[in-house]
Symmetry: C2
């Protein structure tokens, strides 16, 4: 069949328009809470942790697995770095908030959601924020079109069932909901009744958003920070007892099933080849033996960092490395893996690189655009290492396969040890960071410390935002 020239032109324009839309892939970012490197099957976990994780493993099988993907070692700083592409220290978010004051991201920060929103994305967030609990600091104030979830963290779900809390004058935590520009409304108390089931609701709302957005033909970004694996880890009734291996096995089944629901939706909507699907976590595993026992009947429930030493709130690899797998059929080669150093800060500029989003140029961005690395065009991530913070203190430096430690603590309740001479570890030979090999490897200091010096010079030039700074914030000239 021959087509008249005008019809052909219109068709060509239509196809061109479709091609342009496809230049901006959808992004789904599943972000687990306190979920160690050793948990998923794709890192040697799965059945030894109580249940297979076929759907998590599928992401790695069909995409790229990063074995040296690093985060900040606490919840709030890691999420701050994810959202801004900057060291959390710069944003005043070096620690999780312990008191009741103002905390989180000032409005001046440009978040991943704002960047993607500006690039034409519909943005939905379902889950835990932990970057502000006061007016003007909610996700819908920071670039998300809609949000359903909790402002802070899941330990608060226990509060109302604890003796003493009701006399404290503190307010109960609520599950919240908002659309961009709205003041979030309190949906219901976040308590032990809702704690086991919240992640089901998060999944369903993400799926509903995906279905709505897929119809529009515009790209979408879903940020899904699940709560399930944070203390108290209590499985949904549908999964309680299902693994036959205890609470943790049930949790793994639940997570795997929910991620499977997301993958199935992507596939059924026919958008798999136009959707980047990322699975990762905020920091290493918990070591909450006593707490674990009291809430779930499990004794001595430890998360697993796999071969790495340490748990969350330490500077060891177990705190820093988390599981990471990303799938983008047709663009990221299936079944690939890399031990190159990558940091959660790199996701902002990398996703900006892929989506033609704009990275702010008026402030230091510590993340690196690794889009060529993610897409297999180079085998190098471009990152030599990074500064390891625990809270607002520099604990050390990672440089390729080496670590330099100035301070160490075994767990968050352990004594802080400060060394007058730094320790040096080789992570290939000694994944448990047991043997200081400063001698003969003093050269590692010469190779690794310049990045710390450069970082500290940058902090001098661009003074960090003080923790608790209220809005409006303007950087000093």
């Amino acid at each position: 069949m021959l087509l008249a020239r005008p019809v052909l032109v219109i068709l060509l324009l239509l196809f061109t328009s479709v091609a342009t839309a496809q230049d901006k892939p959808n992004i789904i970012l599943v972000f687990l809470d306190n979920f160690g490197w050793g948990e998923p099957g794709f890192n040697g976990g799965g059945i030894i942790r109580g249940a297979p994780t076929p759907r998590l493993d599928q992401i790695a099988d069909e995409g790229l697995r990063l074995t040296n993907f690093n985060v900040e070692v606490q919840c709030t700083p890691s999420r701050s770095a994810l959202m801004t592409g900057r060291y959390a220290i710069r944003s005043g978010n070096g620690t999780v908030p312990l008191g009741e004051g103002v905390y989180g991201l000032v409005k001046w920060e440009v978040t991943m959601a704002e960047m993607l929103s500006d690039a034409g994305y519909a943005t939905g967030m379902y889950g835990k924020w932990h970057l502000g609990r006061t007016s003007g600091r909610f996700p819908t104030d920071q670039g998300f079109d809609e949000w359903y979830g909790i402002p802070n963290s899941t330990d608060e779900s226990v509060y109302s069932s604890l003796p003493g809390f009701s006399e404290s004058g503190l307010s109960q935590t609520f599950v919240m909901e908002a659309r961009k520009g709205e003041s979030p409304r309190q949906v219901r108390p976040y308590d032990l009744d809702y704690r086991p089931v919240i992640d089901r609701d998060l999944t369903d709302r993400a799926i509903s958003f995906m279905k709505r957005q897929a119809k529009t033909g515009n790209p979408f970004f879903i940020y899904l920070p699940y709560t399930a694996t944070h203390f108290p880890a209590i499985p949904h009734p549908e999964f309680a007892g299902k693994s036959g291996k205890g609470v943790w096995g049930d949790m793994l089944m639940q997570i795997d099933s929910y991620v499977g629901d997301l993958l199935d939706t992507v596939d059924n909507l026919g958008i798999a080849e136009n959707t980047i699907f990322i699975f990762t976590a905020d920091n290493g595993p918990e070591a909450l033996e006593a707490g674990g026992a009291s809430m779930t009947g499990e004794t001595a429930l430890h998360g697993s960092a796999g071969p790495w030493r340490g748990t969350l709130f330490t500077g060891f690899e177990g705190a820093l490395r988390v599981p990471f797998a990303v799938r983008w059929p047709g663009r990221i080669a299936p079944g690939t893996s890399s031990d190159e150093v990558v940091h959660v800060m790199d996701l902002f500029p990398t996703l900006a690189g892929i989506t033609q989003g704009e990275v702010p140029d008026d402030r230091p961005i510590d993340g690196i655009d690794m889009s060529d690395f993610f897409l297999g065009k180079t085998t190098k991530s471009g990152r030599d290492g990074f500064v390891v913070y625990m809270g607002n203190e520099v604990f050390g430096v990672k440089w390729h396969d080496w670590k330099i430690h100035f301070k160490e603590q075994e767990a968050w309740s352990s004594v802080l040890r400060t060394y007058t001479m730094p320790k040096v570890y080789n992570l290939i030979n000694d994944p448990r960071e047991l043997d200081n090999v400063l001698f003969p490897h003093t050269w590692v200091l010469k190779a690794g410390l310049p990045q710390l010096e450069a970082h500290q010079a940058s902090l001098q030039q661009y003074p960090p935002i003080r923790p608790g700074t209220p809005d409006p914030y303007e950087p000093p000239r």
Copy 2:
């Protein structure tokens, strides 16, 4: 075409004969030395240990991976248990030989090689024996048609280069070679010149045996106990520096490449579907920091047990669990894995079950025929647990996901700790065996200790062979 009845009968007989031959699959057993659970990619190792292991991973991808495959925690006992299907304590092989006396398997023992030999197999062994170094105790005295390798262990390769040794009056260790019934001849000294290249020769000889045997149409058994990953781990010149990640990465590349050569040979000979290919190891990893440094220039070279605690010569999971993958295309489902408890002793009766081999009935056999489990006909291995020995002492009991510890030592050079009340660990919740949960789990003692009591009663009824017992040995009536 119609065939006359006699011709048809002859053809049917021929096909029946072929079918019978195919009922006895070839068996290749690759057995690594001091190779931890966390080393291969299929258990989350590979690139984080210095190099990917695509050929090892291929075995798991195309077959069954066992995540709870257990061994004895030392070299000689583990090999004794492998060869006999019996606890090493029964055979007088509870420890590695430290002095110069007689040790190893008495002739009265029935080995896996004898069992398979009696079942019609050609049997070749290439590598480290460590079950006897005196006349009548070599592999070719114990069921192997041919052997090329070393009688004892690889630390002996260092001896002739150490100050003092030449004045000791001790004899240099030799690489040996023999055919069944022959007295082995000394091929060459086992020294630091030959140490890096021996595994290449073992591989080539195994391949040569395979090619010769494949032509005969009769089934063969190859036992390939590699030396490479035992102290001193020195890569073959072809692999030295190849990983760019140090000695251990080079070693992984070398092992992976040699195993790949074996797999390629199996495939090229067209015998893959008739060949059971097993990859495993004798015990958990070394912790030889100082030694590693002095021999290879590497500082603090630790093997990795993955998430598990402990190294060889301990009762912890890191000593007991080793990597295990088995491939048998068409008979074992690809990409399967199981955390069921399996012990190296089980291979003897399991392989007997598959090959219609004869398991001796005049002595206790502690292994279990798991052929139905290996072939996917049942999901249960049939083993509840086992007694954990360190040397000749009972350190504890494994029972399903639980451990009961009477004694512990952190590493082979650590102090032996004996407890008046046993410790109890849950391996799913607490893979690093950190938190004793005896309370509230005193029930685990009631469930797990009967197997120890039964084992000890059996030792009463069938007194163990004393270490160093000379031949001929006859059991007491």
